[in-house]
């Protein structure tokens, strides 16, 4: 699969007959913002910096392996072959063999977690599901099932392409190393100490309830991602049931095949017609397998956006956390300022423990008070700086997050439109197949 082509020419890849739509959607022009924390990004367009312009990425195959885990227990897992190939060398006519290395799902997970922590303002592309969900009953939910592994392989490839085509994420060194350095990659990631930076869920949850002035845009976005998640998961659930029923309808028709063929044995004039009509019924019943397998790709596309909803929420959570910190800093500063004023004027405006102790144990000496005011003034200065920094951080976050959200929206609209179109094409081709089979059967019946 050539991944260097950002244009989507056909809905289905002629070779693999798989939907092609998700291969590297690149918005026409995208300008990244300048700074975020300690990290600095190059401002430019993705046309200059997109990784996919330089290399092709694919997850070529999956392999079942057995090994020993940390507890020295036997375990079976699936490894995926990640292949990269420089585009430039191809253009020069010398087709260099692709660099390849094996990665496990857990390594993909590690990569994503790393990105999640280091790029809180980015909607990090989701991984394919760990365990099959929303499957209709004929589909195996086993992690080692070849169909599941194959669908996951496609999903992982899609994930790498999404990261590689992301204007910010594609510049990440760890990501680059993931693609090119097989040994020691895990250690490198862990050495970055990214886990220390990770905010605990609890903290984020805490923030949700305490933020006083939530940003309207982010609240709306959060609301949207909640609804998106619920509507897609509902959709997937119903779709699985619809697929189940459709499967039933088709497969029961298969019984006609058997009965017609048995019946044809006792008929003279009708025999041949029945026999071949029965054959067509068999074909009809068998055709559903392919149809539903194709539909499964559509379901996977939807699933990606189901998980994207979670990624969206992560950004919102991060924003809430920042907002919370900002508000806390502001609150802290205000209370410090108040204390300072109280000390300076000697009045206690509010009932406080301090006020109580001073009443109980008598007034402090002026020297003590001076020293206290000094400390407080120092703290206020620090606090003001901190607040300034937080404000800046928050503004930066908002700006860059919103840029990425805009990018995401564009990508989402484009992808889902393609997905819906390919779904419609699928349905139409299913109907055409149905018409074909029934027309054939009718011809047989008419010969009776």
């Amino acid at each position: 699969v050539s991944l260097a082509i950002p244009e989507i020419e056909s809905v289905l890849d002629p070779e693999s007959r798989r939907p092609l739509w998700h291969t590297a959607y690149l918005p026409p022009k995208f300008i990244t913002i300048g700074t975020w924390g300690e990290l600095t990004y190059i401002v430019g367009t993705n046309e200059e910096y997109c990784l996919l312009k330089k290399i092709e990425i694919s997850v070529a195959e999956a392999e079942k392996r057995t090994g020993r885990n940390a507890m020295n227990m036997q375990e079976t897992y699936t490894a995926y072959l990640v292949e990269t190939r420089a585009v430039e060398s191809q253009a020069e006519g010398q087709c260099s063999p692709p660099d390849s290395l094996w990665r496990r799902y857990s390594e993909f997970e590690l990569l994503r977690n790393y990105l999640l922590v280091n790029y809180p303002h980015v909607i990090v592309p989701p991984l394919p599901e760990k365990r099959a969900e929303f499957v209709w009953h004929k589909l195996a939910a086993d992690n080692m099932d070849p169909d599941f592994v194959e669908r996951r392989r496609i999903g992982l490839e899609n994930f790498l392409l999404r990261v590689a085509s992301h204007p910010i994420l594609c510049q990440e060194k760890i990501f680059n190393a993931f693609l090119t350095k097989e040994g020691g990659w895990k250690e490198t990631v862990n050495e970055t100490g990214f886990q220390l930076k990770a905010d605990s869920r609890l903290k984020a949850l805490n923030a949700t309830f305490r933020v006083k002035n939530p940003d309207r845009r982010f609240t709306e976005l959060k609301h949207y991602s909640d609804e998106l998640q619920s509507v897609i998961s509902h959709l997937l659930r119903v779709r699985a049931r619809v697929a189940d029923r459709l499967y039933g309808v088709y497969k029961v028709h298969g019984n006609y095949g058997r009965v017609f063929s048995e019946w044809s044995a006792i008929e003279k004039e009708m025999g041949d017609g029945l026999q071949s009509a029965g054959h067509h019924m068999d074909v009809y019943a068998a055709s559903i397998d392919d149809i539903l397998e194709e539909e499964e790709h559509y379901a996977d596309q939807l699933k990606e956006y189901l998980f994207y909803a979670e990624a969206l929420r992560a950004v919102c959570r991060k924003h809430e956390l920042l907002q919370y910190e900002l508000e806390m800093a502001a609150q802290d500063l205000t209370s410090k300022k108040q204390q300072c004023e109280e000390l300076a004027t000697g009045t206690v405006r509010t009932f406080s423990l301090k006020g109580m102790t001073s009443k109980l144990f008598g007034q402090e000496t002026p020297e003590q008070r001076e020293a206290k005011i000094k400390v407080l003034e120092e703290q206020i200065r620090d606090g003001e700086e901190q607040l300034k920094a937080k404000n800046l951080e928050s503004r930066d976050f908002m700006k860059s997050a919103w840029t990425d959200i805009e990018r995401f929206k564009e990508q989402k609209n484009h992808d889902l439109k393609e997905a819906l179109i390919s779904y419609a094409v699928m349905q139409i081709s299913m109907c055409k197949k149905g018409i074909q089979v029934w027309t054939n059967a009718k011809e047989c019946f008419s010969k009776m």
């Binding site: 949207y224 609804e227 998106l228 509507v231 897609i232 509902h234 959709l235 119903v238 779709r239 049931r241 619809v242 189940d244 029923r245 459709l246 039933g248 309808v249 029961v252 028709h253 019984n255 006609y256 009965v259 048995e262 019946w263 006792i266 004039e269 009708m270 017609g273 009509a277 929206k409 609209n413 889902l416 439109k417 819906l420 179109i421 779904y423 419609a424 349905q427 139409i428 109907c431 055409k432 149905g434 018409i435 029934w438 027309t439 059967a441 009718k442 019946f445 008419s446 009776m448």
Partner: protein, 434 residues
Amino acid sequence: AGRAGGGSGPAGGGGGGAGTPKALPSSGPKSLREMPHPLAASSSEEAGAELTPSPDLQLPRSIADKDLSLPNGTPVDTSSPASSSSLLNRLQLDDDLDGEMRDLFVTVDDPKKHVCTMETYITYRVTTKTTRAEFDLPEYSMRRRYQDFDWLRNKLEESQPTHLIPPLPEKFVVKGVVDRFSEEFVETRRKALDKFLKRIADHPVLSFNEHFHVFLTAKDLHAYKKQGMALLSKMGESVKYVTGSYKLRSRPVEFAAIGDYLDTFSLKLGTIDRIAQRIIKEEVEYLVELREYGPVYSTWSGLEKELSEPLEGVSACIGNCCTALEELSEDMTEDFLPVLREYMLYSESMKNVLKKRDQVQAEYEAKLEAVVLKREDRPKVPTEVEKCQDRVECFNADLKADMDRWQNNKRQDFRQLLMGMADKNIQYYEKVIL
């Protein structure tokens, strides 16, 4: 020769009936009526059963003792006009089905509900249009209820025992499961009754049956029924077939084959019926899910500004699917299943006729045996045995003709039925694409 008679008066058209005076095609049925079929009364067991409280008591009788000639002493012909004509009919069967000038058209429509103090029932309007001379008017319109149809069928079975009588729709409906007065039930039954009368009207022999004529034309069918019953009671002591006690020496291969065929056929039909019902069930469940599926897309489109158009599109398409699917399963329930049912019942009545035929043959063979035993005393073969032999033969001929006819009808019906099914499915998909 049969074609010369225009195919319309098969009974007369045959003309070859040895003892029958040559009659014009139009008067053919009359001669039929005047001269009851040799077996006419022998099947009166059904009717007789109504009159005799315990018909079982009559059964254990030795065959040889029985008087097997007709109870009312009608002279028996060596060949019946009906049977010879049906032989002819066989030759012109294909003509019958496609090119025959039909001169009797019967339709059943306009069901009406009647509520009396005693019972509630449905009557159907039976309209007859004909050019046949034995009908005084060209058109009749009578109201009949299911009981009357049932009566007609019994009468036909009784008076035309050698023929295959089309089946009626099932009589018994388990109370509570099906609403007997629901629109669907009445409509399904009306269709079946319509089919029943049409099949009789198209039959070269049955359509000339006296009872059929009465059924179509009599203003007071009830009075006629009573009269018929009085007549029957006189013949209460009619011949009973002996069942089971006698084993056929040799059943002709073709009838054995038909029997086997019917067994398999009804088995397969049963399977198809089950499959069809299962498909309908699956489709209904599919429909339920689809109905939920569509609105989800609508909900989603409310969430997305940019995507609302394609999402609404998908939702509308699923809505179309629902409508088309609903139509499809409705058509299957209304058109496909009843035909299957009819043929299942048909094969039942066919089996009955076959059984009767076997009984007639059994009688003949028993008689023959008895004669052979007595031969030493009396050298000449009694005419009685000859009569019996004739009966077997004419039964065979009639039955064969009807079988062929039925086979042909069946072929046509199933061709139509299955093509219809294919068409419906094609239409369904076409609708879905739109």
